[in-house]
């Protein structure tokens, strides 16, 4: 795994996972955590490809995926921008939180812990 910085973004590239998925995933999380401000311009395809040492078409594919989700928008002749819609970000946070909960439940079940106990422990857990 290697960490590479592109503008204000930091990526960790793991060659054992499809590359475009990693770019999509890491931009998603950066937006949800507020590390990228709404309306920010993403690095150009060329810059991103150069910094990450990957094929430009992989970056194009990742940006397209983010556009389809509505998390990014392409402005003609200007590049790709993070959405300005607060609602989109709220939806994304909800989606990522749901994913985390699903993972949590999965782990508890594998450990043989029932719902009631897990909920109790969660209630007692320190929130920091």
């Amino acid at each position: 795994m290697e960490t590479r910085v592109v503008g204000s973004l930091t990526f960790t590239i793991d060659f054992s996972i499809p590359l475009y998925e990693q770019i999509v995933e890491q931009i998603r999380h950066a937006v949800a955590r507020g590390e990228i401000k709404l309306g920010t311009k993403l690095p150009s395809v060329r810059e991103m490809a150069q910094k990450l040492k990957i094929n430009p078409s992989t970056v194009v594919r990742a940006y397209l995926e983010l556009e389809h989700e509505g998390l990014c928008e392409k402005r003609r002749g200007q590049g790709t921008f993070i959405t300005t819609s607060e609602k989109k970000v709220k939806d994304l946070k909800f989606k990522l939180a749901q994913e985390a909960i699903t993972n949590f439940i999965q782990t508890m079940r594998l450990l043989g812990i029932d719902q009631k106990t897990a909920q109790q422990w969660l209630k007692e857990a320190e929130w920091k």
Binding site: I17, P18, R46, L52, P56, S57, T58
Partner: protein, 231 residues
């Protein structure tokens, strides 16, 4: 989409030694394709057969839908067994010479790449290090405007900075042009992000192939896939 190169049951022998063994493969158009394999796997032979420099003993190769010939060669730029350029030329003169010699050579592009690859046009070819020499070869090869670039081992045996410069130039080219690149290498770690499609060649046969992101999803990194095949 039609493949840019297709091989049907292709066989090539050096005397008794079988270099390419009934190989069948279709190379997709408009992509950066890695041809991976150990030394002696048949990579260089296969690339020479695609250019038409050599003809197969059996089987059929089609490039742009035709059997390789001098017309198809015009649409191919090939970096092969270390083409010889005049040692007494300065880089500047080597570029002018290539412009007269090679179809579709773009002088403006060559000048731009000089800067990109940090080569001094006043340096003599004779005085270049191995890495600088490879940069020059690549510059001459990539300054041609063609449909298919075939690069045989452009990364091997050269210094780190030259390798990085070459990778940067290839990414630049991939960003600005829709051409097909077939690049043979056994140095995968630094280059695996470049390829959209790979073929793994062993004993003159394709033993694994596929879209890189698909192979990653199924089997892990291309480096891993490579290790499993060749270990």
């Amino acid at each position: 989409m039609n493949p840019i190169v297709s091989c049907q049951q292709v066989t090539y022998r050096y005397g008794k030694k079988l270099a390419i063994n009934q190989l069948t493969a279709s190379f997709p158009q408009g992509q950066a394709i890695g041809l991976l394999g150990e030394n002696g796997a048949g990579k260089s032979t296969l690339l020479k057969l695609i250019t038409g420099i050599m003809q197969p003993n059996a089987g059929q190769i089609k490039v742009f839908g035709e059997t390789p010939n001098w017309q198809t060669l015009k649409r191919i730029s090939y970096l092969g067994d270390r083409a010889q350029w005049y040692k007494f030329h300065r880089i500047q003169e080597a570029i002018q010479f290539a412009q007269q010699l090679c179809p579709n050579f773009q002088l403006s592009r060559a000048e731009h790449y000089l800067e990109f690859l940090k080569l001094n046009p006043q340096d003599f070819v004779e005085s270049l290090s191995k890495g600088q020499m490879m940069r020059l070869q690549l510059l001459l090869c990539l300054s041609r405007d063609v449909d298919l670039y075939i690069l045989d081992e452009p990364f091997s045996g050269i210094d780190l900075i030259s390798r990085e410069k070459i990778i940067e130039l290839l990414i630049e080219l991939l960003a600005e042009r829709t051409a097909t690149f077939i690049i043979s290498t056994h140095e995968i770690y630094e280059t695996e992000g470049l390829f959209e499609y790979v073929f793994l060649l062993k004993n003159g046969k394709i033993v694994k192939k596929g879209k890189t992101d698909q192979l990653r999803a199924e089997l892990g990194s291309i480096q891993n896939v490579y290790r499993e095949v060749f270990r």
